[in-house]
């Protein structure tokens, strides 16, 4: 693999890891506060799986950069300033109500299904293997969140209103998941990652089916978040400060 591809691909994987990490972090905030006990358990399960996925992506990035895969993930999570995180804006937003969190999870899970299916044929074998494994867990995530989106969409007028309000906010943000960057296009040319526009088309068509069946209207309009992943809301700064608070008490220490 060419040197510039190694670095590009490592950045791509780090961004995937950041999406999983930040979404898992948000998801973990629901533990002890979910609408019913069974969902305390189920939503925590999603977050646990995602923390595992984040680790997997970070370790793959480490291998490409000749960093120690045992140490690199923690370094990424606990030593980078917020400005260096490369997650999409959607996942750093505060949890809002249950409709918001569940719908966000669904939109993300749907994007994972589509992206992971495509990544399974990456020319980088480590990536293809990791994607295939993660996809197995993601199948269940999508089963769970799509069942919930349907029930909340169709349940009561109140639940439908809350879901629509959430969708109006989240859909334009979710489009950032498939925003194109020059380096991603190059990686796609080389066969390491899928073409983002193809993913976007598949994702839009997939979620349209579920959302309209749930009596939810897909908002019109352009993506609301900037294409690059380097711009964040003030929420991320607060999230990262909290997340790194204990680790930063003393660097390089065994906890």
């Amino acid at each position: 693999m060419k040197a510039e591809h190694r670095e590009s691909l490592a950045n791509y994987l780090t961004a995937l890891g950041d999406d999983e990490l930040i979404l898992a972090h948000r998801g973990s905030e629901w533990a002890g506060h979910a609408p019913i006990l069974e969902e305390d358990i189920a939503f925590a399960n999603l977050a646990l799986d995602e923390l595992g996925h984040a680790s997997t992506w970070y370790r793959l990035a480490a291998e490409l950069l000749n960093e120690d895969p045992e140490r690199h993930p923690d370094a990424l999570v606990f030593a980078r300033p917020a400005s260096e995180f490369r997650n999409v804006r959607m996942v750093e937003l505060p949890n809002g109500d249950w409709a918001f969190s569940m719908l966000r999870q669904y939109l993300f899970d749907a994007s994972e299904q589509i992206r992971l299916s495509a990544l399974a044929s990456s020319q980088y074998p480590g990536l293809a293997q990791a994607a295939a494994k993660i996809r197995t867990e993601e199948l269940y995530h999508l089963r769970h969140t799509s069942a919930w989106v349907r029930r909340l969409g169709l349940g009561t007028q109140q639940s439908n209103r809350k879901m629509q309000a959430a969708l109006d906010l989240l859909y334009p943000d979710a489009l950032q998941l498939f925003a194109e960057s020059a380096s991603e296009l190059e990686l796609a040319q080389a066969g390491f990652v899928p073409q983002p526009d193809g993913l976007l088309v598949s994702w839009k068509s997939y979620v349209r089916q579920d959302l309209t069946a749930s009596q939810l209207r897909i908002p019109d309009g352009e993506p609301s978040a900037p294409a690059g992943r380097s711009e964040h809301t003030p929420h991320l700064e607060r999230l990262v400060a909290d997340m790194q608070q204990v680790a930063r008490l003393e660097a390089g220490v065994d906890w």
Binding site: E38, L139, R143
Partner: protein
């Protein structure tokens, strides 16, 4: 509308294809699909599992060995009337759980119980459960990977993942430090 914790579903899990389904506990869920999903999240955080069944708890008919002593069970049916299949679960040991033993055909729940006691009742049966097979929701074979595979990748739920014994031994073995 009254705010509820949703209906209860009894959960049966099968750890290995060669072993019967046994009762693991119950979950609350609004419907069968979420009951199956909740059962997976509540009862399959650790290996092993190859199949889950859920059934509305209030549809299970139950008899204990003690109740049999003072209950008149319906007599065996005369002919082949309208009958359905009822699955039978029996608790056989004091510390055990209700285990799937087979099925009977019967025209009603109480008749199924009677049939179950006649067919499967042995000296050591402690509790009988019957439930109409049509009410059971099951996981499918094709789903085993995504439903039950992830539980195997979570070693941190196993106490062996933490090396406290080794750490304590190392500390004990050290020469005493000055405070």
């Amino acid at each position: 509308m009254r705010d509820t914790q949703w209906p209860r579903f009894q959960v049966f899990h099968q750890e290995h294809p060669d072993r019967p389904h046994t009762n693991a506990g119950a979950v609350h869920a609004p419907d069968a699909e979420l009951a199956l999903q909740n059962a997976r999240d509540v009862f399959v955080r650790r290996p092993d599992c190859v199949s889950l069944w859920v059934v509305p708890a209030d549809q299970i008919l139950s008899l204990t060995a003690e109740e049999i002593e003072h209950t008149d069970l319906p007599p065996a049916p005369a002919g082949n009337g309208d009958s359905q299949r009822y699955l039978v679960f029996i608790k056989r040991t004091q510390v055990g759980s209700h285990e799937h033993v087979g099925a009977v055909a019967a025209a009603s729940g109480p008749a199924a119980l009677g049939e179950a006691v006649r067919r499967f009742g042995t000296a050591d049966a402690l509790v009988w459960w019957v439930v109409s097979e049509s009410l059971i929701e099951r996981t499918e074979a094709a789903e085993v990977g995504s439903l039950f595979g992830p539980a195997k990748d979570k070693p941190y739920r196993d106490q062996a993942f933490y090396h406290t014994t080794t750490l304590m031994r190392q500390i004990r073995g050290r020469p005493k430090q000055e405070p």
